[in-house]
Symmetry: C2
Amino acid sequence: MRTYDHYCGAARALDVVGDRWTLLIVRELLARDGCRYTDLQYGLPGIATNLLANRLRELEEHGIVTREAAPPPVATTLFRLTERGRALRPVLTALGEWGAPLLQDECGEFRSHWLALPLERRLRDHRPDGPPVTIEVRTGDQPLLIQTDDGGVRVRPGTVATPDATLTGAPPVVLGLLVGELDLTAACAHGLEFRGDPDALRRLAPAADAEAPSR
Amino acid sequence: MRTYDHYCGAARALDVVGDRWTLLIVRELLARDGCRYTDLQYGLPGIATNLLANRLRELEEHGIVTREAAPPPVATTLFRLTERGRALRPVLTALGEWGAPLLQDECGEFRSHWLALPLERRLRDHRPDGPPVTIEVRTGDQPLLIQTDDGGVRVRPGTVATPDATLTGAPPVVLGLLVGELDLTAACAHGLEFRGDPDALRRLAPAADAEAPSR
DNA sequence: CGGCATCCTCTTTGATACTG
DNA sequence: CAGTATCAAAGAGGATGCCG
């Protein structure tokens, strides 16, 4: 990128991460650190492969990403964020908050791990002294786990044998429920399937508070 | 901009404000709302005029900027941010914070009003019940006023007859002093000229705490 | 298969000149 | 003052090839 050459923090930041796709690559690594090249391609539908390679090189040169040869069991290159790279999280969350109203009901491309950042930002454990709780979310391509973690939550891809609750539905409904735009009744009316303990959900997303569905 | 078409808040935000120059135009309007076209050109050194015109049209279409015909005394078009546009401030401040370490001693282009956002974010009035205080900053192109305002500060271009203090010096030194990287002694050693009441400065930037310079 | 590099086309940006 | 018009240069997108 051509530099703006402005003596201004925001402009200097955009000199480094203002190129097309760059911040979305950081989004990927924030949601799932330690990605292979192909994981990144999968999480960035639409990116051209030469562009991904170029951006990764630039991010490495700027000290935002490191490339690490994984030991034999995996035997592949893993891309990780540096501390400086993780420091971009507030930029991504600010963008995500501002863009949230633009998430209409039409999905476009979707990967379930894209929910990780907004959910970790917006969900809180409202009974942090209670026993840990795990909610499994089935939406989009891969199941996701939401787990209580020190007053907040951790979100990561995966499944577990006996989650406290399981949410299944289209991304807009799942997201609407978890961020409190829909209550459980309304979400079920929009096709959400809920199994397990409504209290587990209430504990994390009290704005979604409602009676359990009639089943 | 071609859309990323990702069902993700950050990607949707970048669909709208991810183009080159776009966020810097918003920076200009956050620092000095109600700008003329030529003010924007002045505050965005390096932008091509056709690009500025295009971006302003796009920002208008997205409901971020409004164009307003000012009444006869001014008789010109004023560009302003909408509420939705002002909601981008957290994005700009997050970028500015991340980019702050990239502000080396070499300036490049500089406009003093670029200090407004970082200073409003970082300075606090630590004696909010005291009488109001005004500091005049002379760095770069135009003088700037820092005024206490409800526990924080307001920064705007201008001068005043009798400021409580006046800071004159190169942008890196002024900025270093105000954000607490330099104390007053160190700043003076780097060419800062300070006049007035050191307590006024201490009240806003206590990290810059130090004895008054020996003069 | 994972991780790119090359080639080509198309779009966006930049620089400058000109206009109501 | 607030843009449009024009043209060259850079960047992005897409397909394919290469190599361990």
